[in-house]
Amino acid sequence: MMRFNVKNPLFILAAGLLLVAGSAFGSTKAEKAQGATVESVEFQTAKISAKLQEKQGENYVDVAGVKVHEDGTTEDFANALLFKSLANVKAGSELLKVENPYEEKIQVLNDSDGEYPEYIRVVVRKYWVDEENKKDSSLDPTLIKLDVADGWGAIESDSHEEVVYYYRNPVNQTTEANKPVDFVKSITFDRRIKDDHTTTITKTPVEGGTLIESTGAYGYNGKSFVVEMRVDAVQAHSGAEAMHGAWGVEAGMDSNGKLNSIDGKSF
């Protein structure tokens, strides 16, 4: 029997050629079907789209998404999140109430022009900034709490600065009948924000006794914070593969397509 010498160059050559030939089967081929009369075919790449809206006053306003012009061209847009319910606190005319939910309504929409359901996630980053608007890592981002509606699963980063919220069910195109998906309901500040305070006590002898003065200053007084949001959408069809290819995450879902876990972390 001939001994198979793997190192034999002819063997390797044959294996290589076989692989090259075999790779042709993996790719897509367009063939004219037998018996069919195809004269011309119009191809249009499907586009999916998602956008974020923030309730400002009475109405919801677009804050992140794509605008389609009349000539068909598209333009990405971003408008700032306003946090209108915190306007007085920001101005200093009102003091922050801790553990008090300030209304902050944010919703997501599937504004694709076709009826393509999508998996949507929102990546939220929150942090405090200094006077020059540079991130201040010494301040605690977990003091800023976003109260999220039902139906979302949260995966928090180790630094606590970033939380990714996955809407667990595929989102159909938003229409009159199919309302936008509620995302954030309110923003609350943890009571621990008041833990950072320094008290200075001075004692001065005065007529009749001693004047004891205690002055307190809160470390977070006058500090500003930033909340960044990025909405990502992928096709719901072959959703797990799409999420893996586009987002680099392993999605675990049930037979109905409801997400249960991301990268092994259960919701």
Partner: protein, 160 residues
Amino acid sequence: MIKKKYLVIAASILMLGAISVKPAMAFLTATHSTEGTSTVHLGEYEYEIIPDEKYEGLQKRITIKNTGEMDVFGRVKVLAGSTHKVSAKDEDLVAQNWHYDASNGYYYYDKKLAVGELSTELIVTIDPNGDDIDSFNVVVVEEAAPVDAGGNPVWDGKLE
């Protein structure tokens, strides 16, 4: 020698073949970002008290006055050395709206002191313990606490 050359060529073709096997796939995706900022103002707090002490024989009468900008609750500790005990009569305490907490030795004024308000007197008596004293050193320690949302004093220093 020649065999080695063919081996290298063959191996390269094998590698090229292996690379081309992976099929390309494209997914439909969309992504958009925004951000927002705001500022928190927590205010500042300030409170002060002036204790007033009068001696009458072996009796000390202490009052506290709130001279700060915030309503406070006050408490007082009277120390006169280990050999001379300081005490107050229960009926005096009740009549004057003070109470004594044995766990920490403080006399608490039960009523909230509004800004500018003066408390009623805390009357404490020094026990001479057989000594003939006409004057004695007493240390009076006074503390104030801010008032929380429920109208109660916050003695551990944390404002709620």
